[in-house]
């Protein structure tokens, strides 16, 4: 997962049709990142930050432009292959942790490994190690409702890293947390990013969080500028 991993975003555009109006959310966004690099995306609400993140994470498709990860263009893949690609290469951390309430913390972390049948034993070991790493080894069998907000987000970080993704995408990961919890989660996130040598993109409103990334860009009305 290290060395030659590269993300290229080239002239990315996204337009939504709202009734008779067309709204251009992204207007020619381009950047490249290599393994171990991190990028913070800043900008006001509605500027297209999350849209950019979801397109890069293959959860949404661009109207035009190109996203290449390790030379592959995932948006050209059919849905099943795209899902498998996302499962192997991309990890997500959302503002709302999106942990499944019916599963334990460990099960939530192992969720990405349940897509297929392979490697589930190894994944289980890694899941436990990651939870140990994020300080939740004592909470393995707990339900998300039994955790604090910070703990839930740390579990979400562990889940995002389970498959050793090339690309770790975080959408306001501290948006719902108090300052102390936010600090803990962000520190953990960047540490793990370094340890895993992944590409990290963080969408945030927080200047403090953004400051931790090597590179920062600001989106205003779909246009990218250096922050």
């Amino acid at each position: 997962m290290s060395g030659g991993v590269r993300l290229d975003v080239v002239d990315l555009r996204k337009t939504y049709t709202l009734g008779p109006h067309e709204v251009e959310v992204l207007r020619g966004i381009s950047f490249s990142l290599r393994a171990g690099e991190s990028l913070s995306v800043l900008g006001p609400s509605g500027s297209g930050k999350s849209t950019l993140l979801h397109i890069v994470g293959t959860l949404d498709r661009p109207t035009s432009g190109r996203v290449e990860i390790e030379g592959d263009s995932p948006h050209e893949l059919p849905e099943p292959a795209l899902a498998a690609f996302r499962n192997r290469r991309i990890g997500f951390v959302f503002q709302d942790h999106h942990l499944l309430p019916q599963y334990s913390v460990l099960e939530n972390v192992l969720l990405p490994s349940w897509v297929g049948r392979e490697g589930r034993s190894e994944a289980a070991l890694r899941g436990r190690r990651l939870l140990d790493r994020v300080g939740l080894s004592h909470r393995l069998e707990h339900r998300p409702a039994e955790l604090s907000g910070g703990e839930r987000q740390r579990a979400a970080v562990a889940r995002a890293l389970l498959r050793r993704p090339s690309l770790l995408l975080c959408d306001e990961p501290t948006g719902n947390l108090d300052a102390a919890s936010a600090e803990a989660v962000v520190s953990l996130l960047y540490e793990l990013h370094q340890e895993e040598s992944s590409i990290l993109i963080v969408v945030t409103h927080s200047a403090d969080v953004a400051a931790r990334s090597a590179r920062r860009i600001r989106l205003v009305e779909g246009v990218c500028s250096a922050a």
């Binding site: 609400s45 959860l59 099960e107």
Partner: protein, 1094 residues
């Protein structure tokens, strides 16, 4: 939600309208068949036509006989026909526009044979057309009781025939539907002109039925018309100084005797009973006197003829073993006082055959040939004897050896006619000659001092005319009231369809409640806001309930017309697909406002109850969680102790009831169904406990596919909804499985089955005067050759039947006078047939007919289906009926048959039947077990006894006809249950859709983790599958388990195919609903769900 209320209302209203429609239709049919007829007077003994007609203005005399018909040119036969001899007065009882059978016959003009009008049903059976010749057969009215010594018992004496020409086919309406017994199917009537049928029956100028129109009777409906002596078939006439009372049929039966004695006592008259019979021979040593009449009479103080002895003294009261010989006989026998004389006399065997017996008497004296000693009036005017010029010209009903008649006997006949040659005591007469018809041939009444015979006769006539008529076999039936009571129906179809639709109703109510709950859940923040603003819990609930009530009322309003349409559909089903349940297609829609209002009210209440249940838990959550939109706990809770207790208690109840239901010896379906219901409740409680515990179970394993485990965990996550869904599916499957397993096992034809081991059930319109199961009986019936041989090689049980209302499920009307069957000792001893239950633990429940459960109570047996569903009684319960003399009888069910051929009648011992219905002469039901390979020879017997209208049916087919009704109900139930399941499946779809809506974020996160859409679809389908499979397994398991004892006992068989189709359909529909909900949900854009900025 309004839709749910509408469905609920439509189903309830529809069911009630069906009930109203069946009642309304039956009432319409009943009134149509009666026209303007209000009351009927029936007479066991025929009354003069003129006397009948004088009962009231517009009264119509009718001669009504059971019969059969055949078309000689084609051999077509029809049995079970009611032959009605009528005149224009019958036609006049029906309104203008109604068919007029008599007028139709009159209009036929001159025909080579008497005209006959055939009812449409009979004409269809015979394929007869106007102008065709038809031979009708019917029982020849007996001059003396058929089973008495003086009864004629040859087949030619029992049956009469007549060739007719079909003059008209009478449509099946109005007069065409006339019937004394209520039944929804078209009556099998045929009409003849009154005079023609009277002549053919040898009963000119008489009738046995008088129909009275409205207004002819007193309005209280209880009074019978004044009955003159001729209407009572009595002769009361002064005879010298006394009054002589005789009855048609030559015998005064005990009830009539009792009524006459009471009337005489009231007039201060002394009564002398006279019994005169025929002695085959009087013997003294080697000498004998053939064919003499002997009279049993006791001396009486009063103005009646005296029996004077040779010395001029009056004969003393005789002991039982004493005899007074007439002078003629004493001289003939050379017998003197103190000698022993033997009397050979006839006795009737149980099979109807005559035998002779002998009794010895000591001669107590020799009577002079004067006074009673030469009184010809002591002997009734027996046809074939009294009018004979000499003994050689006798045509008696008993066998006579004319070779034994001597010239001296002819001289006596010439001098004294049928005057008795000997006298015995009244007690001796009763001992020798008494039969169920009685033994008294006449009563002699001595007027009180100061009164004369003419005055006594007049007073007696007046007293009898105003007294009860039933002892004389005359009965007044308020036909109109009986018909309207009967039209209320043996089965409450409204209740039945409510019960059949119960699952549909519950499903609709639950669905409405579920939709309401989901709607309220979406508005949880609103509830939270109201609570946080200070609204009290009660106010919040009231606010939402008011909204729900408005919607429920709107739904109910829409449901009423839908209910009428639903009822129309059900009635169409009852007239076509489910016709087997009602046997008629003449049901029409009768929607009454009270029924519609009740349906709407029930639906509203059901939906409101479901809403209250839905609102109760939600509104009581804390405002903070409601404001945040959280409507349920986000933690698995430990299995509720209450659920576990409920599972344990219901499981124990299930086990106890199953054990009781099995060991009670009856495999009681009700108990077993209750056991199954408890099993269902226990299983559902366990499911609830599993839901609660699922999250505490083992983690999802790291090997194999995780999908099933994920599906199970997800299915258990929302226990309330999951339990509701599983409950709906399980309840439906339970009912369907129980119904599918509630069918009867195939009839095996064995002795312990519903047929009792008899392959044929024969019914004759003319009761057979002798038992065809015995050689002597076959001889009397004139059976010879192949037919006699076939019967000789068969096991035959002949049963007497008292006509009455059909008590089987084939009759929709409420039976008032059930048809009765007398079970002979031979069948009681033989045993057999399958019994549902018995009042006492005996090997052969038939034996219970012999006992007497309580004084004045007659033990009877009925088929469980008829007793339970039509008579609405059960084992040990009493049925009140009246015997033929009007006395009240209590019949107690001491055993219940199961799935037998006897579903139309109630069975009592033949002995008791004859005791209370003594005029029941002959046997009209035969159980026949033919020898191997004789199955095709039924026609042989039918042909040999064609004059009796014998109709042989296979017992298997007879039972199948009864079962067809049950099967139809099962099919109806399955169809309605299927609709309920469909609704339940819709509910499942709604729950799935709602669940998926709530789980958008979860599904989006899973997609973000790399789950392809197909995997998520499989996951959601698997979750639905878990609920469906759990519901189906729990329901079918409990339903089938409830039937295991009956299945193991061979009493039931599972209809696997419809069950599999129904349950398979549910699973498929449920999965389809889940798939549709999933597709919609997965098409939703992920971005909106996952976006951090909202």
């Amino acid at each position: 939600m309004a839709l749910g209320a509408a469905v609920c209302c439509a189903v309830v209203t529809g069911a009630l309208v069906v009930g109203d429609s069946v009642r309304g239709s039956l009432r319409g049919l009943a009134l149509d068949r009666l026209g303007r007829i209000e009351q009927a007077i029936t007479a066991e003994r025929f009354m003069p036509e003129t006397a009948a007609a004088a009962l009231g203005p517009g009264a119509a005399p009718v001669l009504l006989l059971q019969g059969s018909a055949r078309v000689p040119s084609r051999g077509a036969r029809a049995s079970g026909i009611v032959l009605l001899g009528v005149d224009g007065r019958f036609d006049a009882l029906y309104p203008v526009g109604s068919p007029r059978p008599f007028a139709a016959m009159e209009a036929a003009g001159r025909t080579p044979f008497p005209p006959l009008a055939l009812g449409a049903a009979v004409a269809a059976d015979l394929s007869a057309s106007v102008g065709e010749e038809v031979v009708i057969s019917f029982p020849r009215p007996a001059e003396a009781p058929r089973d008495s010594v003086m009864g004629r018992r040859g087949i030619d004496d029992a049956a009469a025939g007549m060739r007719c020409v079909v003059a008209a086919i009478v449509p099946d309406r109005g007069a065409g539907r006339f019937s004394l017994s209520p039944h929804q199917s078209a009556p099998r009537n045929a009409w003849l002109r009154l005079g023609d049928l009277q002549r053919a029956a040898g009963r000119s100028g008489t009738a046995n039925l008088t129909l009275l129109p409205q207004g002819a009777m007193s309005r209280d409906g209880t009074a019978t018309p004044p009955l003159t002596l001729d209407r009572l078939a009595l002769t009361v006439r002064p005879s010298g100084s006394h009054v002589l009372v005789e009855a048609d049929g030559f015998v005064i039966d005990p009830a009539m005797e009792s009524a006459l004695r009471e009337a005489a006592r009231a007039e201060g008259a002394a009564v002398q009973a006279v019994q005169t019979s025929v002695a085959v021979a009087l013997r003294h040593g080697a000498r004998s006197v053939p064919y003499s009449t002997v009279t049993a009479v006791d001396p009486l103080d009063g103005s009646v003829p005296r029996l004077l002895l040779e010395d001029g003294t009056e004969a003393p009261a005789l002991r039982d073993d004493q005899i007074v010989l007439g002078l003629w006989a004493a001289e003939d026998l050379k017998a003197r006082r103190g000698d022993t004389v033997e009397m050979e006399f006839f006795a009737v065997q149980p099979d109807g055959a005559l035998i002779t017996r002998t009794a010895a008497f000591a001669v107590a004296g020799i009577a002079r040939a004067e006074g009673l000693g030469s009184d010809r009036r002591l002997t009734p005017d027996y046809p074939g004897i009294q009018e004979a010029r000499d003994i050689a010209a006798w045509d008696p009903p008993f066998p006579i050896d004319l070779g034994r008649i001597r010239p001296r006997d002819e001289v006596y006949w010439d001098l004294h006619g049928a005057a008795p040659k000997a006298f015995v005591s009244e007690a001796a007469g009763r001992r020798l000659w008494a039969s169920r018809y009685g033994s008294v041939t006449s009563l002699r009444l001595a007027p009180a001092a100061g009164s004369g015979a003419p005055a006594l006769a007049a007073a007696l006539e007046a007293r009898l005319a105003s007294g009860p008529a039933e002892p004389f076999g005359v009965r007044a039936i308020d036909l109109r009231s009986a018909a309207l009571r009967g039209a209320e129906g043996a089965t409450d179809f409204g209740g039945l369809f409510l019960a059949l639709s119960s699952f549909l109703i519950v499903s609709a109510a639950l669905l409405a409640g579920l939709l309401f709950r989901l709607g309220v859940e979406r508005r949880a923040p609103e509830i939270g806001l109201l609570r946080s603003l200070g609204f009290r819990l009660r106010q919040v609930r009231a606010r939402f309930l008011a909204e729900g009530a408005i919607l429920a009322a709107a739904g109910a309003a829409a449901g009423v017309p839908a209910g009428i349409l639903y009822a129309r559909g059900l009635l169409a089903g009852l007239g076509t697909l489910w016709k087997g349940a009602v046997g008629t297609s003449a049901l029409s829609l009768h929607a009454r406002p009270p029924g519609l209002a009740l349906g709407a009210a029930i639906a509203c209440l059901a939906v409101l109850a479901a809403m209250i249940g839905a609102l109760r838990r939600l509104a009581s959550r804390d405002p903070a969680s409601l404001l945040s939109g959280r409507t349920k706990a986000e933690l698995f809770r430990a299995p509720s102790r209450a659920a576990l207790w409920m599972a344990a208690v219901a499981g124990a109840a299930c086990a106890v009831m199953a054990w009781r239901g099995t060991t009670a010896g009856s495999a009681s379906p009700g108990l077993l169904l209750a056991a199954g219901a408890c099993g269902l409740a226990s299983s559902l409680a366990l499911f609830a406990a599993w839901c609660a515990a699922a999250g505490r179970g083992r983690p999802i394993a790291p090997r194999g596919s995780a999908l099933p485990a994920m599906a199970a965990r997800n299915a258990a996550w929302n226990p309330g909804r999951s339990l509701l869904t599983v409950s709906v599916i399980a309840s439906a499957c339970f009912i369907l499985a129980a119904v599918a397993a509630g069918g009867h096992a195939e009839e095996d034809g064995g002795r312990a089955g519903g047929s009792g081991g008899f392959d044929w059930l024969a019914r004759s319109d003319v009761p057979l005067p002798a038992d065809p199961g015995t050689a002597s009986g076959r001889e009397l019936l004139g059976l010879a050759g192949e037919a006699a041989g076939l019967l000789a090689r068969s096991e035959v049980i002949a049963l007497r039947r008292v006509p009455g209302d059909d008590v089987s499920c084939l009759n929709l009307y409420r039976p008032e006078r059930p048809a009765l069957i007398g079970v002979p000792a031979s069948l009681i001893e033989r045993g057999g047939f399958r019994f549902h239950s018995a009042a006492a633990p005996v090997d052969n429940p038939w034996e219970l007919l012999k006992g007497s459960p309580d004084p004045g109570v007659i033990p009877v047996i009925g088929d469980q289906n008829s007793v339970l569903w039509i008579l609405h009684l059960g084992l040990g319960r009493d049925l009140a009926v009246r015997d033929e003399t009007g006395r009240d009888l209590r019949l107690r069910f001491v055993a219940l048959l199961q799935g037998s051929v006897f579903q139309s009648e109630v069975l009592m011992s033949e002995e008791k039947l004859l005791e209370h219905f003594p005029s029941s002469a002959g046997r009209s039901v035969l159980l026949i077990d033919p020898p191997e390979g004789a199955a095709e020879q039924a026609a042989l017997l039918e042909s040999a006894l064609s004059r009796t209208g014998l109709d042989i049916a296979g017992t298997a087919e007879t039972i199948a006809a009864f079962r067809a009704v049950e099967s139809t109900y099962i099919r109806t139930f399955q169809a309605l249950g299927g609709l309920g399941l469909l609704l339940g499946t819709c509910g499942l779809g709604v729950v799935m859709a709602r669940n998926l809506l709530e789980r958008q974020g979860e599904l989006a996160a899973m997609r973000a983790c790399g789950f392809p859409r197909s995997a998520l679809k499989r996951l959601v389908l698997a979750e639905a599958g878990v609920l469906l499979a759990a519901g189906a397994l729990i329901g079918c398991g409990a339903g089938l388990a409830a039937s295991i004892p009956r299945l193991a006992g061979g009493l039931a068989g599972v209809q696997w195919a419809p069950l599999a189709v129904m349950v398979g359909g549910v699973l498929a529909a449920g999965l389809a609903a889940a798939a549709a909900a999933t597709s919609g949900s997965l098409r939703a854009p992920l971005l909106e769900t996952l976006k951090s900025e909202r």
